[in-house]
């Protein structure tokens, strides 16, 4: 994993910010034929945002059934500039500006997918997908099963989760667990630029609906990404991002970064931490988790969202099913404080599952007590 964002770093582009300006001056980009002619591909250090943009561009070039639909994705180039330059290159037919009507255009994409197109929906942030909840849960997820496989729904919904920019209660949520609850959907959560490109491309090529939950505070995160136009990250495969022996920290999205930072800190205290980035929530790669726990015997589930009924709750249940005999301690979990997000910076910091809190939770699983006064403020 690359340069992890820190707790205090606020790297997201806001709705009215233009962090992607440097990337707009990218000059000539290779066309599909030029991409095909290359046989050996190098990696390049690019941002998470640019990795997503390249995945979209390459898939638009590869498959003419692919189109983008969402709010502000054309002239405005995306609220977070992920679709920068695509309107100019592909035109209004493939880059469809949609009015503010999430339920309407998500449902439209759903119908288009049922009839042969490959829609990629951008929901500006995961908070707004609630307007389209009926479409995603009651329609998208049900198409194939309800008619016994006679119709499919190969569509992608891209949307960022995340908190940490004082965006307050209605704009600081991690709701991906809600969707991972639903049979018929797949949910992936790339944490790095490489996986941002690889998982988005895998999602676009999938025959089933995939929710790609991007991480808003990671859009400016840099990392090495393959230039191979057929580079994909397989859906349903977690990744051991750091090897260790004493405890396994399991997280996804921003929590995968925080877990790595805690691992680095604990190394100085001679505690060897293994870190797993789940990358995919549904399907969930329990094989990788079980293999790790057979070695470390201790687990901490780290989630940027609320713990109650959340991703960490599911992980705990699965781990005790799969790894009961391997466990030397109760499974730990840590998530966002059980409050809506406040605006004041000190309250926001204290709400997040920040590095100090994750570190304390890891130490608790290892049997070491800490003084909450030392870490609760973040």
């Amino acid at each position: 994993m690359d340069e992890a964002a820190t707790d205090t770093e606020t790297t997201s582009g806001g709705e009215d910010q233009t962090h992607a300006v440097d990337e707009l001056e990218r000059g000539e980009e290779p066309g599909r034929e030029e991409l095909d002619e290359q046989h050996e591909y190098e990696t390049e250090e690019i941002t998470y945002r640019e990795a997503l943009r390249r995945a979209l561009r390459e898939e638009l070039l590869r498959d003419e059934r692919v189109f983008l639909i969402g709010e502000e994705i054309g002239i405005f180039e995306g609220s977070y500039k992920v679709t920068a330059g695509l309107l100019d290159e592909f035109g209004t037919k493939r880059i469809r500006e949609a009015p503010i009507s999430e339920e309407g255009f998500t449902g439209l994409a759903n119908g288009a997918a049922m009839t042969g197109l490959r829609p990629i929906v951008e929901i500006m942030t995961i908070n707004f997908i609630l307007m389209a909840m009926d479409q995603v849960v009651n329609h998208t997820a049900k198409v194939r099963y309800m008619f016994s496989g006679q119709v499919g729904c190969p569509m992608v919904i891209r949307t960022p989760n995340g908190a940490g920019n004082q965006l307050t209660a209605q704009h600081s949520q991690n709701l991906e667990g809600w969707f991972a609850h639903v049979p018929g959907l797949k949910v992936v959560t790339p944490a790095t630029p490489a996986d941002a490109k690889g998982l988005l491309k895998a999602a676009i090529r999938d025959e089933d609906p995939v929710l790609v939950v991007e991480n808003l505070p990671s859009y400016n995160l840099k990392g090495e990404v393959s230039q191979d136009p057929d580079y994909v990250t397989p859906i349903g495969e977690a990744k051991v991002t750091r090897e260790g022996d004493d405890i396994t920290l399991i997280g996804h999205s921003m929590a995968a970064h925080r877990s790595l930072q805690v691992a680095e800190q604990l190394e100085e205290e001679e505690i060897s931490v293994e870190v797993i980035d789940l990358r995919s929530l549904r399907p969930l790669d329990m094989e990788t988790v079980a293999r790790s726990l057979a070695k470390t015997n201790r687990a901490l589930c780290v989630d940027e969202g609320w713990a109650t009924y959340g991703v960490s709750a599911e992980l705990c249940a699965r781990i005790q099913d799969a790894c009961f005999d391997d466990l030397d301690a109760p499974i730990g979990r840590v998530g966002m404080a059980e409050v809506p997000m406040a605006y004041a910076k000190n309250l926001e910091n204290a709400t997040l599952p920040h590095v100090k809190k994750v570190r304390a939770a890891a130490l608790a699983v290892l049997g070491e007590e800490t003084d909450p006064e030392e870490w609760r403020a973040g």
Binding site: G107, G111, T115, I235, M286
Partner: protein, 393 residues
């Protein structure tokens, strides 16, 4: 007192007059919005007109049998009977071409039959059998036949309207000269999904006709108590969309309007709204007698406008049927057809238990992807979701 009168007294409705609506008749046709495009070119042979009549009779007898089978517990779940609305289904669907798409709400037996889905496969679906048109996974509300462009009955009020709009989007995107017919009830028009979808259809210029079966009641609530503007066709003005309101008990009037609007959608890439004023003779579902919120007089008045004898009389007047005996013969033949469907459904296989987790995902990699969930899992992904989908099933 009818609900309309009640609503009027309560000051809710600006246009009293009873849900029975005094204005059903030849003068019902109203149009608004942008100028009408191509005129209806539909002109049916005597044979085809007889077939339309037969289909209407088939639907009525099928629904009567459905109610009997529901009471015998052969059919479960929610079951919404369409008796009284046959002219809308048969008339509106007649102009559909082979490659056009149909998407409907959940009161859909009549629409599936009118689209040509066989009574056997519809009845088998109601019986929850593998040979049903949705493989036994859909039931009464989720009939479908993609081979006929019927992409399903959908059970969340108005939720399917964006889907239909998306199917029209595909036709626009791929420059295919086809159209989508999206059926919904008048109860759906106060949902947000409907407004969002119509706005998108107008904005993008999509070839879709929204067919509103205004049967006057959403469950037990009359249109006058639910809609500030109970004339649904007028809503289209907000989307700069052409709209028409026709007598839904007159199969030919519905057919001509549907043909005109579908033709316009195919040729000019413009959406339209077609409101058909009709009435359901039965309750909202089989579990509802339909009498607590409607007066006996109102129901009887509408039964006097039954579209089947009305069309039968029209065909007699034109000499297409020569005698009442011919109409009786149609009824006997359609009754036999329904009994064949029941027999087929009774003898059809139940879905295999081992198929339970088939069709959750269709991607060939899904099985492999989900296999990694299996360690320690009590849910049997490896056995169910996966290997059956890998091709064993």
């Amino acid at each position: 007192m009818t609900q309309a009168e009640q609503a009027s007294e309560d000051g809710q409705a600006r246009e009293p007059g009873g849900a029975a609506g005094g204005h059903i008749g030849p003068n019902l046709l109203e149009r608004a919005g942008s100028p009408v495009g191509p005129e209806s070119q539909i002109s049916l042979s005597a044979d085809r007109l007889r077939e339309l009549y037969e289909t209407m009779v088939l639907i009525r007898l099928f629904e009567e049998e459905t109610e009997r089978q529901y009471k015998k517990a052969q059919i479960g779940g929610y079951c919404h009977i369409s008796s009284g609305q046959e002219a809308v289904a048969v008339g509106a669907l007649e102009p559909l071409e082979h490659d056009d798409v149909l998407i409907t709400a959940y009161r859909c037996h009549h629409l599936a039959l009118a689209r040509g889905v066989s009574p056997e496969s519809v009845m088998a679906e109601l019986f929850g059998r593998a040979e049903g048109c949705a493989g036994g996974r859909g039931g009464s509300m989720h009939l479908a036949d993609p081979t006929r462009g019927y992409l399903g009955g959908w059970g969340i009020v108005a939720g399917h309207v964006p889907l239909a709009t998306g199917a029209a989007f595909t036709f626009a995107q791929t420059d295919e000269p086809h159209a989508v017919l999206c059926e919904l009830g008048e109860g759906a028009v106060n949902e947000g999904a409907w407004h969002e979808a119509l706005n998108l259809a107008g904005l993008y210029g999509l070839p879709v006709v929204y067919l509103v079966e205004n049967n006057m009641y959403g469950m037990g609530t009359s249109v006058h108590m639910a809609s500030a503007e109970p004339e649904v066709w007028k809503r289209a003005a907000g989307f700069d969309m052409h709209a028409e309101r026709v007598d839904g008990q007159d199969v030919e009037e519905v057919m001509e309007a549907s043909d005109r609007l579908l033709r316009r959608a195919r040729e000019e890439r413009r959406p339209a709204l077609l409101e058909c004023v009709t009435y359901r003779f039965r309750g909202h579902s089989v579990a509802d007698a339909g009498t607590s919120y409607r007066t006996e007089e109102e129901i009887e008045e509408w039964k006097g406008k039954d579209p089947i004898p009305r069309f039968g009389q029209t065909l007699l007047d034109r000499g297409i049927f020569e005698s009442d005996e011919e109409l009786d013969e149609v009824r006997e033949r359609m009754d036999a057809r329904v009994q064949e469907a029941v027999e087929f459904a009774e003898n059809a296989d139940l879905p295999e238990l081992d198929s339970l987790a088939r069709h959750v995902y269709g991607d060939e990699h899904a099985a492999e992807q989900f296999t990694r969930m299996a360690p320690g899992s009590p849910f049997g992904e490896r056995e169910l979701v996966l290997e059956k989908e890998l091709g064993n099933g």
